[in-house]
């Protein structure tokens, strides 16, 4: 959380009433969305309503014991985040207070109240390398230097977006803290590595472009069937236990983004701990460095104050936009956006606002769309291009997708990964239902797959989709009459579809090799099954009974491709075996 400067402080007020996270104050001179410090303990809050002399504040900390009459101090600044080197490898709460620093300051494993800490380390010194020289003229957003923040990421120091720019009069390399001036302009402006930005305001850009490159996730069902673009939006709705969090973790681990911002919004404490413990040990498949070097974590678990849960997605997306401005591809995972919506509902009901559907506030849809619209592939104001992809988990009550949060989300996002409790029950993971899910990016991303993987990627994928569709139809008949009553070609299709499901769509997130599958491997597994399909249908035409075709010894080896590290060799051999075994039958 950013610290307001002294000069901004305006008239203080007095607490009028307290009800959970909602506090009203009298005589407070504050603007809408200003940050205020509430009570004698100085609990952080934000102004959410002003009515006459009474200001309503949502408090980001527990309010037990706070009583009317205590002071409320205004800061005159909206809720902002500190931006600068030191955000990667960090773990924050919903208002960007670093949790490791809080632990140290509070001297306890429990979160105490009224303790604040800057979002980035103000003491730490960084190696600053200038990118511009004295006499150059710079504008808002321009990159003036770099800092090697982690082994994976060079942090670009930029002129703040609200600066007027000017001619550089002083710049030198060296070690600086984030608050020391690294560049001076002729306008008298001094530029530091640290900037502030209000979280509820989108950072400026020149233009939003149509994304054409996929965000490769290393998950076969996603890359193969329902790809998301860099700069795209996706929703993962599903009932509890269907694997939302595992899917989000997989994406955070393996997505080929430069930076990952992971927002744990109102979810389990142990899950966040898992991320904190796992990520530093995992290796980024692209750079080989620790995954944590490119990751920023925001953890506001379900038992942490509800108002901070409301703000945590904004904190996350503002950090993501800042890295986008440097020209990076950023992926933001929000788990779960339903908890965010519920936080809005809770605050709204304490304000006694007129509720919309299912008690959610009437502005739910507007807030959701405004948030997802901050994703995209952007031309930045400094001429670089960067993207923010947003992947939001949704937790519909009772797994019912017709509820307001899911429906309002689906109206905005272009990729829909529907998690399915039935699949999860039979431990088919990732339990993404291939009949219900969709990706509107498929066509615009096809050229990339054709250029970078194989020419016939779209055709092969279409074959897989058709086969799975046909299976879904046939299954309905099978449920009535049994498999053996079907004609032989349909029985064969069922068998092929089974391999598509088990060998291709299923993927073991906990197996060291299978957890990440590059696009080439995704293609080759699919193609190996297609080889089996084509050869088997030819044999069937030649009069071989279907039992013999499905009983061949080599076919079950298809299920083992996922776990093979040297998959090319394995698949070559397997395809030969399947072909020769089938051809021997006629």
């Amino acid at each position: 959380m950013s610290q307001a400067t002294e000069s901004d402080v305006r008239e203080d007020g007095i607490i009028e009433s307290v009800s959970g996270p909602v506090v009203t104050a009298r005589d407070l001179d504050a603007r809408m969305n200003d940050v205020v410090y509430v009570g004698s303990e100085g609990l952080m809050g934000e102004v959410i309503e002003i009515e006459g002399n009474i200001t309503t504040i949502q408090v980001y900390e527990e309010t037990s014991g706070v009583s009317p009459g205590e002071p409320v101090e205004g800061t005159g600044a909206p809720l902002s985040v500190d931006l600068g080197p030191g955000m990667l490898d960090a773990i924050y709460d919903g208002v960007q207070r670093p949790l490791d620093v809080l632990e140290e300051k509070m001297g306890s494993a429990y979160l105490d109240r009224g303790v604040d800490a800057p979002g980035i380390d103000l003491e730490k010194e960084w190696e600053f390398q200038p990118e511009v020289a004295e006499g150059d003229s710079v504008e808002a957003g321009d990159i003036v230097g770099t800092v090697p923040e982690t082994p994976s990421i060079d942090h670009k120091v930029m002129v703040p977006p609200n600066s007027d720019g000017g001619e550089v009069t002083a710049i030198e390399s060296g070690t600086f803290t984030v608050e020391e001036t690294v560049v001076e302009l002729d306008s008298g402006e001094e530029i530091q590595m640290r900037q502030e930005w209000p979280v509820r305001q989108q950072r400026p850009s020149v233009d939003k472009e149509t994304p054409t490159e996929p965000l490769i996730s290393g998950q076969r069902v996603l890359d193969g069937l329902f790809p998301i673009a860099k700069g795209g939006t996706a929703a993962i709705p599903g009932p509890f236990g269907s694997g939302k969090t595992v899917t989000q973790h997989q994406l955070a681990k393996w997505a080929d983004a430069d930076i990952v911002v992971y927002v744990g919004c109102g979810e389990r404490g142990n899950e966040m701990t898992e991320v904190i413990e796992d990520f530093p040990e995992l290796e980024d498949p692209i750079t080989g460095n620790a995954l944590m070097d490119r990751t920023c974590l925001i953890a506001n678990t379900s038992n942490m104050p509800v108002a901070a849960r409301e703000s945590c997605v904004y904190t996350g997306i503002t950090i993501a936009e800042y890295f986008r401005d440097m020209g990076y591809d950023v992926a933001l995972m929000a788990d779960s956006t339903s908890r965010w919506a519920e936080a809005m509902r809770e605050i709204s009901s304490r304000l006694e606002e007129m509720p919309g559907e299912e008690g959610y506030p009437a502005y739910l849809s507007a807030r959701l769309s405004a948030f997802y619209e901050r994703a995209g592939y952007f031309s930045n104001i400094n001429g670089t291009e960067g993207s923010v992809s947003v992947i939001g988990a949704v937790s519909p009550p009772g797994g019912d997708f017709s509820e307001p949060v899911t429906q309002n989300t689906l109206r905005i996002v272009k990729t829909f990964w529907a998690l399915d409790a039935d699949l999860a029950e039979r431990r088919h993971f990732p339990s993404i239902n291939w009949n219900e899910s969709y990706s509107l990016y498929r066509e615009q991303l096809d050229p990339w797959f054709v250029d970078n993987v194989r020419d016939d990627w779209p055709e092969t994928r279409q074959w897989a989709i058709d086969t799975l569709d046909e299976e879904a139809e046939l299954q309905e008949i099978v449920q009535l009459v049994g498999k053996d009553a079907l004609p032989e070609d349909q029985q064969l299709t069922l068998e092929i579809a089974r391999y598509l499901r088990e060998a291709w769509l299923q993927q073991n997130a906990f197996h060291p090799t299978d957890t990440y599958c590059e696009p080439e491997k995704t293609y080759r597994i699919m193609d190996a099954i297609k080889t089996y399909n084509d050869e088997a249908f030819e044999a069937l035409d030649a009069g071989v009974p279907v039992e013999e075709l499905t009983d061949i010894e080599s076919a079950p080896r298809l299920n083992r491709i996922g776990v093979q590290e040297d998959y090319n060799e394995y698949i070559d051999e397997l395809e030969d075996d399947i072909t020769s075994e089938l051809r021997e039958l006629y």
Binding site: E16, P239, G269, N270, S349, R426
Partner: protein
């Protein structure tokens, strides 16, 4: 201490009082009524000239002349190791006739959130001796794993079996390092009969001396139920993180707790969420469930097994639904299995333990555990599917393999799940039994298991016999 005789309104469990000095939110209140009786309550809303108070013991008999004292502090639980072996009512007053409790410390019952950075990830296997849990949905220390049950099902027997048998393998090997096991039992609105069942079992097995019991019975005031689990968890945290105990907290029945929340919400005329439950129920439940866990640098742990009865067996009802979104999995008690006489009637398919994958495997349980579990799940699900089909087309119309899946599903329920409430199986027994069952299927069908493990564990002779019998 401020005292007032200015009650303006009494409505349901709420009392509204005019005040001239500010009162802290969540503060504890004592209300003294005519005959000298004292009730306790808590400030729900505090404004500069009035407060709303929720009275734990009910508002019956309170009139506008009652005097109200604000104690100037939030609710505290007196904690000490001597609580072990004691029985308390739902507000923490001893009811076992034992000596007065001399507290070591008084702790706020609204526990602060554990900093996620200070948590330690739970990955130590707890052996419950129940195959359907150990083998298929493993419990680990610091986990919160609720039992989803419904009226008329034997969830209490299962909870008791777990409380009796739960152990951690390292303890069995005698390498105890002072970390002892304790059970905290928090009852909310259960019947006197159920309470007796628990108490008898605790006494019979001698478990009482390592237990702390909080009893809010069905005829106790409903509002009191909102503090009972907080008292239980405060005690649990104290024993776990200050006295190094491994604490198992059993909370039953969470449905009654949520009903109490709804009652208070309605009395306050709040805008209701789904089915009349308050919109903040998720946050409220999270503040209970999230108090499970382990903390870095502390030896103890808090493991929670909340029990809830699903109204109408419906797991989309807000109570199980919100619970499932917070807890790390769930164990389903199944009505059909129960009527078949399976003990415990756990349906493993919808059950889940989210922390299982890191708590099992080589060095923790056994190297083959994960694969065996996956394969059993897949095979049992296949068998379940086929049962519907068999009803229509008959067994003869199915292939050999399909028939084997059907047999597998039957034997799985009869041998693996149905072990009885008094059988304590260790993890080796459970996994070996799993292999016995899986060996009914041909090797090719075991596509979830690593080939080397199949070679090591697959029972060749059984299939050989079957082939001979064919």
């Amino acid at each position: 201490m401020k005292e007032y005789q200015t009650i303006t309104e009494i409505s349901g469990p709420l009392v509204f009082v005019e005040t001239d000095e500010p009162v802290g939110y969540d503060e504890i209140v004592e209300i003294e009524i005519g005959d000298g009786e004292t009730r306790r309550g808590q400030v729900l809303e505090s404004a500069s000239d009035h407060v709303a108070i929720q009275v734990f013991e009910g508002t019956e008999g309170i009139d506008r002349d009652a005097s109200v004292r604000f104690l100037g502090e939030t609710m505290k639980m007196p904690v000490t190791e001597d609580l072990l072996g004691r029985v308390m009512d739902g507000t923490g007053q001893p009811i076992d006739g034992g000596p007065e409790i001399v507290p070591d410390d008084r702790q706020d019952i609204v526990g602060a959130a554990i900093n996620p950075y200070s948590r330690e990830y739970p990955e130590e296997f707890i052996q419950t001796g129940v195959s359907a849990i150990d083998g298929m949905n493993t419990l680990v220390r610091g986990q919160k794993l609720p039992i989803f049950s419904a009226s008329g099902l034997p969830h209490n027997d299962l909870a008791l079996q777990i409380a009796r048998q739960a152990s951690v393998p390292e303890e069995e090997e005698g390498s105890e390092e002072g970390s002892e096991f304790a059970v905290i039992f928090g009852a909310m609105g259960i019947t006197a009969e159920e309470a007796n069942e628990f108490m008898d079992d605790f006494e019979r097995t001698g478990a009482l001396e390592r237990s702390v019991v909080f009893m809010n019975l069905a005829d106790d005031p409903a509002v009191e139920r909102t503090i009972t689990p907080r008292l239980a968890l405060t005690t649990a945290e104290y024993l776990a993180f200050e006295k190094d105990y491994h604490v198992l907290v059993i909370l039953t029945d969470m449905t009654n707790y949520c009903e109490a929340l709804r009652e208070i919400g309605a009395a306050r005329e709040e805008v209701p969420g789904r089915r009349g439950y308050p919109g903040y129920m998720y946050t409220d439940l999270a503040q209970l469930y999230e108090r499970a866990g382990r903390i870095e640098g502390r030896d103890g742990s808090v493991t929670q097994i909340p029990i809830l009865t699903m109204p109408g067996d419906d797991d989309t009802h807000p109570i199980p639904d919100l619970t499932g979104y917070i807890t790390e999995g769930q164990i389903y008690i199944d009505r059909d299995l129960n009527s078949q006489g399976v003990q415990p009637p756990i349906n493993v398919l919808p059950s889940l333990s989210r922390l299982m994958d890191d708590g099992i495997g080589e060095g923790l349980t056994r190297a083959d555990h994960a694969d065996v579990k996956d394969q059993i799940f897949a095979a049992y699900a296949e068998g379940e599917d086929l049962r519907d089909l068999v009803n229509i087309v008959g067994r003869e119309a199915l292939s050999d393999l399909d028939n084997k899946y059907l047999d597998f599903a039957d034997r799985f329920e009869e041998e693996f799940v149905d072990q009885g409430y008094d059988t304590d199986r260790d993890i080796d027994e459970t996994l070996e039994l799993g292999w016995d069952l899986l060996s009914m299927l041909p090797k090719d069908a075991l596509n979830r298991i690593d080939e080397e493990l199949i070679e090591e564990h697959y029972r060749e002779e059984e299939t050989a016999e079957e082939v001979a019998a064919d």
